[in-house]
Symmetry: D2
Subunit: 259 residues, 4 copies
Amino acid sequence: MNEWTSSVSCQAEDTILIRGYAIEDIIGRLSYTEALFLTLRGELPGEKECRMLDAALCSILDYAKGPAPVTARIVVSANPQIGAALAAGILAQGAHAVSPQDAGSLLESLAQRLRDGSSISTVAREAVAEALDAKRRLPGMGHPSAMKADPRADMLRHVATDTGYWKDRCRLMEALQREYATATSRQLVINVDGMLGAVLGDMGFSAPEMAAIAAISMLPGIAANAVEEMRAGSRIRMVRDMEYRGPSRRKVPKKDQRD
Amino acid sequence: MNEWTSSVSCQAEDTILIRGYAIEDIIGRLSYTEALFLTLRGELPGEKECRMLDAALCSILDYAKGPAPVTARIVVSANPQIGAALAAGILAQGAHAVSPQDAGSLLESLAQRLRDGSSISTVAREAVAEALDAKRRLPGMGHPSAMKADPRADMLRHVATDTGYWKDRCRLMEALQREYATATSRQLVINVDGMLGAVLGDMGFSAPEMAAIAAISMLPGIAANAVEEMRAGSRIRMVRDMEYRGPSRRKVPKKDQRD
Amino acid sequence: MNEWTSSVSCQAEDTILIRGYAIEDIIGRLSYTEALFLTLRGELPGEKECRMLDAALCSILDYAKGPAPVTARIVVSANPQIGAALAAGILAQGAHAVSPQDAGSLLESLAQRLRDGSSISTVAREAVAEALDAKRRLPGMGHPSAMKADPRADMLRHVATDTGYWKDRCRLMEALQREYATATSRQLVINVDGMLGAVLGDMGFSAPEMAAIAAISMLPGIAANAVEEMRAGSRIRMVRDMEYRGPSRRKVPKKDQRD
Amino acid sequence: MNEWTSSVSCQAEDTILIRGYAIEDIIGRLSYTEALFLTLRGELPGEKECRMLDAALCSILDYAKGPAPVTARIVVSANPQIGAALAAGILAQGAHAVSPQDAGSLLESLAQRLRDGSSISTVAREAVAEALDAKRRLPGMGHPSAMKADPRADMLRHVATDTGYWKDRCRLMEALQREYATATSRQLVINVDGMLGAVLGDMGFSAPEMAAIAAISMLPGIAANAVEEMRAGSRIRMVRDMEYRGPSRRKVPKKDQRD
């Protein structure tokens, strides 16, 4: 467990090899998206994989009033270090906002059931029943903030169909939506998290890789918001309308009167 | 100071606008690199800008035994959350490792002197003299770890020449190297930080934007290392050969014997 | 959901109130431990609560070769910013290392079963059976790295007995250890995480509060290691014996030969 | 440079030594504040040092609408992980908010001039003149948000006088305030950052150690705000009144019409 090993990169004869390719053969020849695929997965992507990954990486560029970019703005207003802002922005993503890995993990376990011989609709019906039973929210569904549909999910579906990545997990995601509507009479949209979890899963990405791709997709917005705030020279951003609900002013009791 | 404003994105009629473009027009049509340029700078890049930015984004993909990927590995071995690993990996970049913004800031101030009428060699000579005088290290130069040249810098130069981004800051960087050699008889290479600072500066990126681009360039490696470590099931990575140099075992004195 | 409220602090008549107490009445009068208890819980601690919390806060001060301090050292060697090192050190704590909240959450749910009328040994026996059944590790037990006992856990137990905080969750933790030994014939120690989860739970702290207390307990070590590394002037800490297990050097294929 | 060494802690005979003291001798016997002093500085504090450090650690417990606690609230609303919130809250401290290390570094360099034989008022007069000349803000002075005085600074001064830590750096800080008023006719208060930088400096803490102490002082508030937000079940905190100032909706041009 304690030996350090890496199959990602190494130094060799005055260059760095990334998955076996010399860095000087990569720079100027691969796009960032191809290089990301290579570094994560170990092999170069085909053209269609690259188009699909580009679509995924463009799907959550920014949502200016959302947690991650606002966090980045506040951080630089107190601590004018761009790295601190990017790190904090990434930490402002998780189970409640931007987590394709949650849908991805569910779809992974359901895909296993498909391989065991069940049909897509059976698997989806069971999964919906299990979630309702356990009062567990189904990940990847639900109207995003104030929008009636999720155009990001729709375009991802379009590109997935076009590139041949509309496969089992994508169909399972749609079946989950359908079975949920049947079981509850509530029609939820598949949101961008759900669609990313499905499509990236069908491309062979694992749940942690999905989370990394989502973070990279958010970084342009996180960076742009932080840079804009630094340029504006903001100092110490506050929330002005913070309402206080604690006790009113009181005196510190003497030590022997505290218990 | 305290009103919240953003010129990066907004919500409009059931979609999200990134710098005015609907997200569904971006997904599937722009590459990540184009979308990053748009989000940071406000306008779409031309083809050459895109090639140059792709080269920059591919230039520091991974260096497996370096601070950022090792940090990511240690973090997930204790806290198996990919977001924590990415954030910590980003924090492991700065003044001593991966900071094109330092060369970029110096070149920005020197470019100002060019605009004031001095020649490139004069400005470079003065800058080297000032640094030597103040015993300040010149950023962007120096042999990277155990390598005699920096092939990443060389390829960036090649792409910059090809795309027309070999401009004033790039020439200043080379002049700094030359004048440093003349002044000290020490021949230092321009390293990847220096070349990124020069090229990105000549593309119009500010110092904080350079830092963000460098962080995004490192993320494939940070993510790949973290994912590999999670997959291996590492738990609690330690440094085995930590040598202790503190006091040997002693007794805690009674309170009244402490001062 | 979107109104901002706080019951922790507010500004009032040229001072700041912490849970109703003016900051100038706190400074110089309360210890940090008392102030921490007040800020987290809303009321001042009694003397015994304070002693118990001090013991908890002293229980994981440092483990120099462990994930958090090593992360802090690597981060400052690349990015000499103490805040970045502290943040990264905190991120290097979680499910696999330093997580009293995991034992705390389990004990919380088991304490609920006690309140429903079961005995401590019954609840513990069931919990062990459930964990073994689900092949789930029981949190808070197991030999810490290379140690045959956990003196930190032993001292916490001692202080808890002394201050009256050896209550239901503590007894449950011991019963889990006992029942695990009976079920598996394996004798595991209760480690510092388990004991913290039990004691802090019996003091009324919630699982997220336990995680915060553990992080505060680690910060002296994280800070001391980072400061020592900065003082030594380390630059770019590497892992020297990183073994490469990826593909050997190869050429990037032409674009049309990639799929 | 690359050997790992620590003088903070080590493992020895089934225990952990912190600066030579066995952890089981620390737990239950030292307060957290004593243990923090020991871990950072290598020796146990005297009673007065401990009182002074306690005062410092209580001085910036929370400011509920400020950057660090708001950051922590936003982060957990998206990513319900307390460690992520604590780390992000720490990153929301720096040059513009909570940075005793800036005043501390200035006072350190001025204290050097005292040792070279100048008087406190001369050194302060020169430092003010240099700052005004360079249009540089003097750290540690200035009215804190909406307050006419800084009661935290006043109480720190009181405790410092009481414990014998009102020494050269403290006197220098006051002289800076006085000389600034003389030079500019503007009366600025010494704020909590300035007083912390002075007092902690007179206690022998280095600038990075001051930053760590400030971060630890903020953590009760950061943690309490994060916990309150988690308990309230907040999801995806947004800034509702974010005003958009970017371009209005426009169409993505075809690739050949972009340059």
